[in-house]
Subunit: 344 residues, 4 copies
């Protein structure tokens, strides 16, 4: 009963097989491996972006901050949601990699609103040398609270950015989960909706540790390569990043795993709903934020269930509602969900 | 005939098997996996350092710059050899991670000399606010030119550092190759010889991408954890770093591979010597810098041999001596070496 | 009728005379001038802090960010008010000088509240490597909106910081204006109330361009000196900073100018109140935030009055209330205030 | 007998008078003062550069590092002489302001040679992501050892930079001293000789603390303004920087002071030469590096002479030659030079 994160499960066997298969002979280091050529072509196809610059790194934070650093000057501020990973969970890495850019927080429950973004940007004074200058907008899709912006919502956000002539970054640590939730194309969820650069996650969806950074306009390509190396994120044995990504993209495995993860979450959410849980946010992908009585939490913990309490604790009145975050990954067996629900 | 680097060969099958074996069920992320507990204990045993703080990262540059950043203040200068990897091959990552420390180069052919180091340190003026303040000393072992400092040589260098009250970092990207060359213990080559922190390489010696950073005094432990996260080098699915390192250390595999690599190089060097090549540096581990006539280089390239010319080119007089760098890894088949030598 | 800022008026003649008097013969550079010895002693006396480390820089931003950088690690966050100068008016200098620390904003109208500060600090998770670690608290006195924290209010804020073991910085760009408003001693407003380091302003109160940074615990002294030099803020002809500060402190000139400035503001505020203006914040020093009908703004602007509209514009309905910021410095002639008020 | 530096003497009375004269009424802050308009026009005239972007800062280090930061990317290296101020005397400020660029040292006695510069640049590998990328060239004029590059020598250096497509910065902390030594125009010594940006010193030549940064191509103007503010170098009471510079430029005062300083040095050098001193570098402006017997140093020190020994000490054999650095500024009375020479 492991629901604490989608970063705790195993690598999908097909990806592992691909890694093992690619572990023969010699490959040029530092991204010159032939597998990377294959991956680059595949991602350009998938995104309908034949000119895109495509790179691999090993962590989601690296993908985000290297991408943002190519667009944010040190005297600018990045606009992001108040619950964004880049603000809450990257230990000042965005500030570090941009050379001291600020983050301006758009007060957000789960999905950033265009009105909130507009207010945040309008609150800056471009051209006034005393304040931070407006910089890129970063949107998370799936959001950190499990919501998925619709295409219309994404476009409304990027329209705000465009109106202020600001570039747009998409933190897609759970890109595939969002995509299958929206049932749209990768191009629709990115450049066709005004996104300039995307962190395309693999790690949370069945890979070992690989994320792609995709620039739809390749003008930042060389700068990215220098920033990646300077950040110590250029792998010598790069083939093992390429290989993961190749396995991930083959035969729509990435989409199948994401569908499985989302289905798991939907099944779990359905069970929780029937059991009387209340939801902090409507689950739209593979994350659930829900509350139920403390007594049930206690039973679950005793039974070995792993998940994060969300702001509360196991101490207190039995019948008080306590919130939790539950994350499902592709690997979660259905009987584990049933076992979890059996404690309600 | 692949001699261009020890970062181009495959992962050792035993390590791959370990990774596959560890790819089951759930593991806590971010270094809380149980395999890391095993690795930490094992490295403490190997280094006879029960208090050591032990961390894993995925690239050698990350290991070096995160270790150095814990010891170098932004207004200091790091003392290193003029041919060091941290100076020549890390695209300003040391300057970036230290927040703008300088590198003071000790003019070096292969091994840094105590006299050169003493002169470099003495050339600074600690307490003079105008200049950079003296900071850590970084020594590479195996050096970037294939030499191995003897224990006495290491101690002579660290004695200079100590006399100026400076900490010592050891860049051990090829730690195992040096160790088997010296036939000493890891403790002797590090803390018993005055080293404070070591980058303990795995990637170039049969791993996929893993390096340990080992602090013999754990006072920097928490700072390192914060710097690692802020540098985007903390892996969520950390178990796959742990697993590599566990496989690497099991059954002395790391020493066996290093011996194999060094033996390969010795065999190749012997053949080259017999064929009349001259050596730029005496090969002491798994790297060879040697010169032979251009005509032979041409034949080798036509036959598909992969290695780096060292300052020369294939264009020019046939009988002119042209230098090359050759690196042998554990995986290099002996018949490939023979094939290479057959062109002389 | 110049009310736009207290950085637009002349240097007090007594300070200018002191500068002219000190402009003879030779003085050692870089803070080794004999005038600095005098200034250091004088400030230690004034603050009843015989061990304090005392430095001079030329801008308020330099004083703030160099002081903060001595207390904030790159992975920490600084707690400050949402309207603080360090957040709104220093173009990311705090982020730059700290090497990428974050600023956590305590939502504030004018004075930071202990509850707000407590909530901001409690919202962090010290020891959780993913988020920024709690760092120093920065309080502005006089606030950017013209309020003055009482001693009790200051102590309530620093008590919150202490409870979390966080150091406290006081941005005293208008230190003297606050001091005469509270009618307390410099020690009471700083170290006796839990302040660790203060930016002690001179520029806005009749100097040419000089601010002192005073560390009550001198342990950061050498680090500050290095940071000041590295920030390019160490003056070679430092005597002219010393001389300004010496003139400023002589014969209580600093207090007399501050009283004059505050009195000017009180007189103006009184006139505005009688004329029906409404106040956004209660003026407690030399700054006024008040609203009156647009038609009067128009008359004032036509008459040449200089001040900042605060969020509104001259365009629109005559009788609509439009806010303004008015700042009085010591040099403002009383008849100019009368002239200003005559337009109401 | 004060020869320790040209940063220890007084401000020229004419400049002080100008400051006093400008100390009346109100002036807009942050460089919007009307005096700055005058200064900008005057410098554009002097440099025959009607489009130039002109800014003032208070320290030479600030001028250098802000100028360089506009041209050097964080992953680049700046080429400068091994004795340059930016390397030896700015406590890593260039590395800090550029966000971690490296400095590549051209081994230099006093004047950088084109061959040395060419070798340093050619030693880099642009396009190789592992090493630092070539960045701007910084030339000091007058050099830190008292030499003056001829126009031909300057052009030879900038030609090397141009051939590699690199921008050129001129550190002109002693610009005027070089100019009168060469008897050429400011334009000839800068943009007509291939210089892109110059630090135009005032502080060492009779000002209080002011340096201009002049970009001949204004494309970096806005970036400079942001970097200056972010570096905490934008003065609120900017009029006092403007006023110094206005006084400095009026009636050729800057040239007259520089001539006086150079004449003082020539007179002193002549006396030293007659007294048997030997010269480390041929003095060409207002600095002298010369050696004479220790016994004479002892007498001079007893008599109160102030200057820097250059690598030696007062301890040792009487007749041993010991080197010294002597700097003359405009204010040095001729009889003080005679008094100094009388001890030989």
């Amino acid at each position: 009963m492991f629901f604490s994160s989608d970063n705790a499960g195993p690598v999908h066997p097909a990806i592992m097989e691909r890694i093992v298969a690619d572990n023969a002979g010699y490959q040029m280091p530092y991204g010159k491996d032939t597998i990377m050529d294959e991956v680059r072509d595949r991602l350009r196809d998938i995104f309908e972006a034949p000119e895109a610059a495509v790179y691999l790194v090993a962590t989601g934070t690296a993908a985000n901050v290297l991408a943002l650093a190519c667009y944010a000057q040190p005297w600018q501020t990045i606009f992001c949601s108040s619950v964004s990973h880049i603000h809450q969970d990257e230990c000042n890495a965005p500030e570090f990699y941009t050379g001291s850019a600020k983050l301006t927080l758009v007060e957000t429950q789960s999905k950033m609103s265009p009105e909130g973004l507009e207010a945040a940007i309008s609150g800056q004074k471009p051209g006034n040398v005393h304040g931070a200058q407006p910089g890129p907008v970063s949107i998370t899709q799936v959001t950190e609270r499990g919501s998925v912006h619709s295409i219309a919502e994404l476009q409304a956000l990027t329209a705000v950015a465009r109106a202020h002539d600001l570039p747009v970054h998409l933190d897609g640590a759970r890109f595939a989960n969002a995509l299958v939730s929206l049932n749209c194309s990768p191009a629709e969820m990115t450049w066709k909706s005004g996104v300039d650069v995307v962190s395309f996650g693999g790690t949370k969806n069945g890979c070992m540790g690989v994320e792609a950074v995709i620039f739809f306009d390749p003008e930042k390509a060389w700068e990215f390569e220098l920033r990646r190396k300077r950040g110590a994120h250029l792998f010598s044995k790069h083939r093992y990043l390429s290989s993961q990504m190749a396995g991930y993209l083959a035969d729509d495995l990435w989409l199948r795993m994401a569908r499985q993860a989302n289905d798991n979450a939907a099944y779990l959410a359905d069970g929780l709903r029937k059991a009387g849980a209340t939801f902090l946010h409507e689950p739209q992908a593979n994350m659930i934020f829900a509350s139920w009585p403390r007594a049930v939490h206690r039973k679950l913990h005793e039974a070995g269930a792993r998940y994060h309490l969300w702001g509360g604790s196991l101490e207190g009145a039995d019948d008080e509602m306590v919130a939790a975050r539950l994350v499902c990954d592709w690997s979660l067996p259905r009987d584990q969900i049933d076992a979890f629900l059996s404690h309600f």
